[in-house]
Amino acid sequence: MTTYETKFGSLDYYEKGGIEVIDDDPKHYAFSNVFEVANASAPWEKVAVGKNMEYVLEVIRAEGTSEWRTCAHDEFPLVLDGEVTIELVKLDIPLVAADKHGSVSLGGEPIGKAMGRIVLRRGHQALLPANAAYRMSADTASVVLLQTIHGDDTIERWAEICLS
């Protein structure tokens, strides 16, 4: 029986594909690699690797402990390398307007009731509920892909991360 090897990437090892242009501009594909982006990022930077109108996919290099953040809408982190712990707190009073896009920093400790804790490893996806406060931590450098909406702290550096 044939044995198959499923290939995932990591911060330590990944292979990057590419674009064979026939009659086009490679910039039209905004081609990047999440591990390459995370390798070049500071911890907890939120670097957009996908953008569709107001929506973004952010790569976050998880390393150490993040600040507490909150968001008016649901967000969804997917761990692509390493292990990340998420703490959740139900805020006594929501801190952001209902129409605010993206997460914001609390600038301190959350005031509210502890909701729980989740430990994610590679391939695990979690829910960051709207109006909860959350904080992530990782003992070693890890990679999170966050499904969210473009916010004040979203970083766009397309020319640096994309094939051209």
């Binding site: 990057k16 594909g17 569709n52 695990h124 829910l127 766009e156």
Partner: protein, 324 residues
């Protein structure tokens, strides 16, 4: 709508019914599907046609254009659907042999569903990898209604959240042979009393390793109109998808090669090779078809905003993902 609204003939000598929709006629024999329209006719392998038809039905005509091959396909207008022959083929258009008709979605949906059910034999599953199903050929031999009417997974918030789509288990979804090495561990979830419904996580890679279909994006998480639609890919995408909006891909595992052509003319534009961790956009003016030698995990990321196609078609939004 009732079944009598679908125009169909009695079974032919091979046991298959014929179908008519507007000026288009469809019939099948042991090997081929035969199409005709007022300005021409066409033949497609039953294998190719059924796999494309399955996806067009399951995706409710998807976003934009679903090309069954270089001649025939559909364009979704989200309430009505164009069915065309030669419309996105330069030679057909120059020869003025192209033809297109617009139908109410309900009518074309019901016609396609009946056609798919009648023409799919018991041993064939159009969603399965070619190595995991029987052949579609031969005279009519039963049906596979359960396979062709699979419910499309569409989470409201996220897979695994109480009351939403649930994770896959051995009982219903064994691990695919090509994903036998994918870890099946669960996240560690510690919910305080009262918050069990909101402290939620699951293993997406394990979930995908248990998918029983190929090239069939299903929704696993929803951030307003931002939809995560991961899918497992093996062999060739059975349709050539023409974009009416920018669509993003994140290659989660292994490798896919995308052939990218101009949406309207079919002229080649690029080949995009994506490996694990790569992210790329498909612009809003192209058509694409993927090739995956080993079963792979692909995250298709869609913006389902209803006004987006009009914003793009009227030039208010670029067909390209970002400007840099």
């Amino acid at each position: 709508m009732t079944v009598t609204d679908v125009s169909a003939t009695a079974p032919n000598a091979q046991g298959y019914r014929g179908f008519k929709l507007g000026g288009f006629h469809f019939s099948r024999d042991e090997f081929f599907v035969h199409l005709s329209w007022p300005t021409g006719k066409h033949v497609i392998s039953a294998d190719t046609f059924l796999k494309a038809l399955q996806r067009d039905v399951a995706w409710d005509f998807f976003y934009g254009t679903v090309n069954f091959d270089h001649v025939f396909g559909t364009v979704n207008h989200y309430g009505t659907v164009d069915m065309f022959a030669g419309r996105f083929n330069d030679a057909y258009r120059k020869a003025e042999l192209d033809h297109s008709e617009n139908f109410d979605t309900l009518l074309i949906r019901e016609t396609f569903k009946e056609m798919l059910d009648d023409w799919t034999n018991a041993s064939f599953d159009p969603f399965a990898s070619p190595t995991e199903t029987g052949k579609p050929f031969g005279v009519k031999n039963g049906s596979n209604t359960a396979a062709v009417t699979r419910r499309r997974v569409a989470a409201n918030r996220m897979v695994g959240v109480p009351g939403d789509e649930q994770i896959r288990t051995d009982a219903t979804h064994p691990i695919n042979r090509m994903f036998a090495d994918v870890p099946q561990d669960d996240p560690d979830i510690h919910a305080e009393p009262g918050f069990e419904g909101e402290v939620a996580a699951y293993n997406l890679f394990a979930y995908l390793s248990r998918s029983d279909v190929t090239w069939n994006p299903s929704v696993v998480s929803v951030c307003k109109a931002s939809l995560y639609c991961p899918t497992t890919e093996e062999y060739i995408l059975p349709v050539v998808h023409g974009n009416d909006r920018v669509e993003w891909f994140v290659q989660l595992s292994d490798e896919i090669v995308w052939e990218v052509h101009d949406r309207d003319t079919g002229a080649p534009r690029s080949k995009v090779t994506m490996k694990a961790g790569d992210v790329a956009a498909m612009p809003g003016d192209i058509r694409h078809q993927g090739y995956s030698s080993k079963r792979s995990m692909l995250l298709v990321w869609e913006n389902a905003s209803p006004g987006l196609p009009e914003l793009i078609s009227t030039g208010q939004v670029s067909v390209y993902p970002v400007d840099f």
